[in-house]
């Protein structure tokens, strides 16, 4: 029986327990001479349903995991007994063979032909193609594995259903007028709410551990010093399984490219975003603000892939052609360049800077403005000499936060910055970034034991910690500043 059928049945038993429990509680509560009920009838129903569902689900999950591991172990054991079997690829082959056999029509699926030659056409007719390494003796193992799997799943399903029924019956038997069903249900609700919120911690731990684990494996093959201080990035994609070809994994060119592009982006985003925030907060009339502000926020709602494509298809070629016209010959701006990527990323970040600094500027107390204006300063003088100095730490925090967004941005640089990892100071040339290389290393064939794949996790961990440090710093600055006027 497939697991999802069992799941549905368990849920149905839970539903039945709920209905019966509610009915029984109601009957008891409304019977003659009953004392005042502790909980309303649905709570009794819920409690019975929880008792029916939860233990059964836990059992089902544990059984699934356990039986899967047991089967893998069995198959591996049988393969090891046969001489000439490849222990590495064997289990996978047997597994896909067993899955294929399940699709065959009844007389064949339990008793298939004993040679691959006879079996392959049957499977092909069902749309299953097997790897060439599949051998005749694997058929027998696969048949046995299928039988064992069917038996185990029947045992698991009946155990889970039995447990569900026992739980439901027990829950129903617990129903009494003075039983504290509501307390029990509410305790469960609270526990699940807490579990949901602790998922945030779990995610962070998951990110750090998964990156760290792969990074440590990577550093087992490449020394940390050559990663962090290497100036050459040349991973040399090895053909699958050939091994031995050592690449160079220097972080410096990628880090330099990342920072350079982020710097160009901030050169665009910081002044433009800040000036538009100032204009919105201090000059714009209400009708202008109500139109322009959402329009600028549209920039934040457009997916970054659209920015990237605009840079790749329109802006990059346009800048190249302009530079060619200016130089009167060869273009000095490449179509994929630091300038293009930085410019487009800067525009993407304008709403980030402006909405953050808008909050900070409006948080400056009105009394400071009034004081300055009352002394005869013009509006711009008030802004430049009173508001901005007062808001400066907050704005610095906002820009730091924006910079961390710029460093982690992926799609724009993947499309517009280029893939050549080199060190250059010329903004018209292509440079590459950490995020681009993560994408490059992880699209295509993956081998979780080669440094070519693992380096992406080391890059990701670096990226994670750099942005984390910037965010924490920025939040600390912003928070500290905000408290000043409260």
């Amino acid at each position: 029986m497939p697991a999802y059928v069992t799941l549905v049945l368990v849920l149905l038993i839970g539903l039945a327990s709920f209905m019966l429990g509610r009915f029984r509680a109601r009957a008891q509560a409304f019977s003659q001479g009953a004392p005042k009920a502790h909980s309303r009838p649905p709570y009794h129903g819920w409690w019975a349903a929880l008792l029916a569902i939860l233990p059964a689900l836990a059992l089902l999950l544990a059984w699934q995991i356990g039986s899967g591991a047991y089967l893998r172990d069995q198959v591996a054991g049988q393969l090891a007994a046969v001489s000439g079997a490849d222990v590495n690829t064997g289990p996978t082959l047997v597994n896909s063979l067993a899955n294929g056999l399940l699709l065959l029509d009844p007389p064949q699926d339990a008793n298939p032909p004993v040679t691959m030659e006879a079996l392959a056409p049957l499977l092909a007719a069902k749309g299953v193609t097997l790897a060439s390494g599949t051998q005749d003796f694997m058929i027998q193992i696969a048949v046995e594995a299928n039988a064992a799997r069917a038996l185990l799943s029947w045992i698991g399903a009946s155990a889970a259903l039995g447990l569900a029924i026992i739980g439901g019956v027990y829950g129903l038997s617990q129903i009494a007028v003075r039983a504290r069903a509501r307390h029990k249900v509410e305790r469960f609700v609270l526990a699940s709410l807490f579990t949901a919120s602790s998922l945030a911690i779990l995610t962070t731990v998951g990110i750090v551990l998964s990156l760290l684990f792969q990074t440590i494996t990577f550093f087992g093959q490449v020394s940390p010093a050559s990663f962090f201080f290497g100036t050459v990035w040349d991973p040399r994609f090895a053909a699958a399984g050939s091994g031995g070809s050592e690449g160079q994994f220097g972080l410096i060119p990628l880090l330099a490219g990342t920072l350079y592009i982020a710097f160009v982006a901030l050169l665009v985003a910081a002044p433009v975003g800040l000036m538009s925030a100032i204009y919105m907060a201090e000059y714009a009339s209400r009708p202008v603000r109500s139109v322009v502000k959402p329009a600028l926020e549209l920039l934040a709602g457009i997916p970054t892939i659209v920015y990237g494509i605009f840079a790749l298809v329109t802006l990059g070629p346009w800048l190249r052609d302009i530079s060619a016209a200016l130089a009167g010959g060869a273009a000095f701006i490449q179509a994929q360049s630091i300038l293009t990527a930085g410019l487009v990323m800067g525009v993407m970040l304008i709403p980030v800077v402006s909405s953050l600094s808008d909050d900070i500027i409006t948080a400056v107390p009105q009394a400071m403005r009034d004081g300055s204006l009352g002394l005869g300063a013009t509006r711009s003088e008030t802004i430049k000499k009173v508001i901005l100095p007062a808001a400066l730490p907050g704005i610095a925090g906002a820009i730091l936060l924006t910079a961390s967004r710029a460093i982690g941005e992926t799609m724009i640089v993947v499309l517009a910055a280029g893939v050549a990892a080199k060190l250059t100071a010329n903004p018209f040339e292509a440079m590459t970034t950490i995020t681009v290389k993560i994408v490059n290393q992880l699209t295509g064939d993956l081998e979780f034991n080669s440094p070519q794949t693992l380096v992406a996790f080391a890059l990701g961990l670096t990226l994670f910690f750099v942005t984390l440090a910037m965010n924490i710093g920025a939040l600390a600055i912003v928070r500290k500043y905000r408290e000043q006027y409260e």
């Binding site: 998964s210 549209l298 920039l299 709602g301 509006r379 982690g408 979780f448 984390l468 939040l475």
Partner: protein
């Protein structure tokens, strides 16, 4: 002292006005204001140019050139030995290209014997013509022997030429559409057998190596699957977490830790979530690559902080008097939250969720890492089947060289932006309609 004898008192010349730089200051004021206007105009102009360039490049993708020809389903070509009753594969393997070509030659009035001219007609009809004809025959074998008007796609090059996207002033040798083909195209267009139709294929096809038969249908299904997963997971977990943090959590180390974590997760680069998905779901838990399930769960984790932050704001906006009233009437804390606070906070929660979903829909980077960059031609039936997503499909087309793919890509961007616009407008309407000011 009394020297004032000489006539009238001299009127002191008005001293020149002391220069306090007022003009300069006003000029500086005007300049400063102009900088502000310039900054805003820069942003708006960029937005307009970007959207304008996408629309002008992409709107043509919604029309596709079709060629309607009277095709004779010649039994001699399809089934020369008349064995189709014994072997149904004959109808599938038959030479439908020949049928399509014969129909085209007949229409253009070309003698099939002139091999040199015939060779030039290749590349007018799309390669998909044979699939159209095959499907006609397998659906209804009695069609064999008849002559029927069949509408087939033109090839991508003819499509581009017909839309005027190919510069015909370029020397013939350097373009993909030859002069002779353009002549024929005009000839077919003049009698109405070649015409542009609304491009339904863009919405129904999957990935294809031929631009004219590639579309975003499969990608949209993949995206919708992922959005459904994100909606269920992120909304349930997000709301539960927010309720706990806003209503139940005691101030303490653990709560602070959770809050700091949520705020930091909101700022973690999206690509890191892709690394998490790859290493935990695919490598560690052994889930299939390119599956909508993995994509959905990864995007859920990414969207969760956004939804939690919006939900907490919505819950915090419900006034304490509601809580006090519920508790005062004897409701338990759980009843107070689920019966009173949550329904009142619902519009705000939904708004936040839709905005989070819109972000997840446009997200590309994490999906690249979990193998959604896949050539998927068939619709995924379950979330475990290989699937791709709308933005990933756009990314893949961006890497194609052919002009016709750029058109498709811009069309797909228009579709993506339309989806996002609908979602955001829904969010705004929800907020306007249901938001209560306390």
């Amino acid at each position: 002292m009394t020297d004032i004898t000489a006539g009238a008192i001299p009127v002191a010349a008005r001293p020149p006005r002391r220069d306090i730089g007022i003009k300069k200051r006003y000029a500086a004021e005007a300049r400063f204001k102009a900088y502000g206007v310039a900054a805003i105009l820069f942003g708006l102009a960029f937005l307009a140019i970007m959207l304008g360039s996408v629309v002008t490049k992409g709107y043509t993708a919604f029309w596709q050139t079709n060629i309607t020809l009277p095709v004779t389903f010649d039994a001699q070509v399809i089934d020369p030995q008349n064995k189709r009753d014994e072997d149904p594969m004959i109808l599938i393997k038959a030479n439908y290209d020949k049928l399509a070509q014969a129909a085209l030659l007949a229409k253009l009035g070309i003698d099939p014997a002139e091999k040199a001219v015939v060779a030039k007609t290749k590349g007018i009809l799309s390669d998909s013509a044979r699939i159209v004809l095959r499907d006609r025959v397998t659906a209804d074998p009695s069609i064999i022997g008849q002559t029927v008007e069949v509408s087939m796609l033109a090839s991508a090059n003819i499509d581009s030429a017909f839309k005027g996207q190919i510069d015909l002033s370029v020397p013939e040798a350097r373009r993909k559409v030859k002069d002779q083909q353009v002549e024929w195209m005009k000839q077919l267009a003049s009698d109405g057998s070649l015409a542009e139709k609304f491009n339904t294929g863009l919405f129904t096809y999957g990935a294809s190596s031929r631009p004219e038969t590639s579309g975003v249908g499969v990608a949209i299904v993949g995206s919708l699957m992922m959005m459904a997963i994100v909606l269920v997971l992120a909304l349930l977990i997000g709301v539960a977490a927010s309720i706990y943090l806003e209503e139940f959590a005691a101030r303490g180390r653990l709560t602070d830790l959770i809050e700091v974590n949520i705020n930091n997760l909101a700022a973690v680069p999206s690509i890191v979530f892709g690394l998490l998905g790859l290493s935990v779901f695919i490598n560690f838990l052994g889930m299939p690559r390119s599956a909508a399930l993995v994509g959905g769960v990864t995007l859920s984790l990414m969207t969760l902080p956004t939804i939690i932050i919006a939900t907490r704001a919505a819950i915090a906006a419900v006034p304490p008097s509601i809580r006090d009233a519920a508790l005062g009437l004897g409701a338990s804390k759980t009843q107070m939250v689920f019966h009173h606070v949550l329904p009142l906070a619902m519009p705000g929660i939904l708004t936040g969720t839709i905005i989070g979903l819109a972000r997840a829909l446009g997200e590309t980077a994490p999906l690249l890492l979990i193998g959604m960059v896949a050539f998927v031609a068939d619709y995924p039936a379950t979330p475990l089947d290989p699937a791709t997503a709308l933005p990933v499909q756009i990314y893949m087309w961006a890497n194609e060289a052919e002009r016709a793919f750029v058109e498709r890509m811009s069309g797909a961007i228009i579709i993506l932006l339309a989806f996002l616009m609908v979602m955001n407008i829904t969010a705004i309407v929800l907020r306007r309609k249901f938001e209560r000011r306390w």
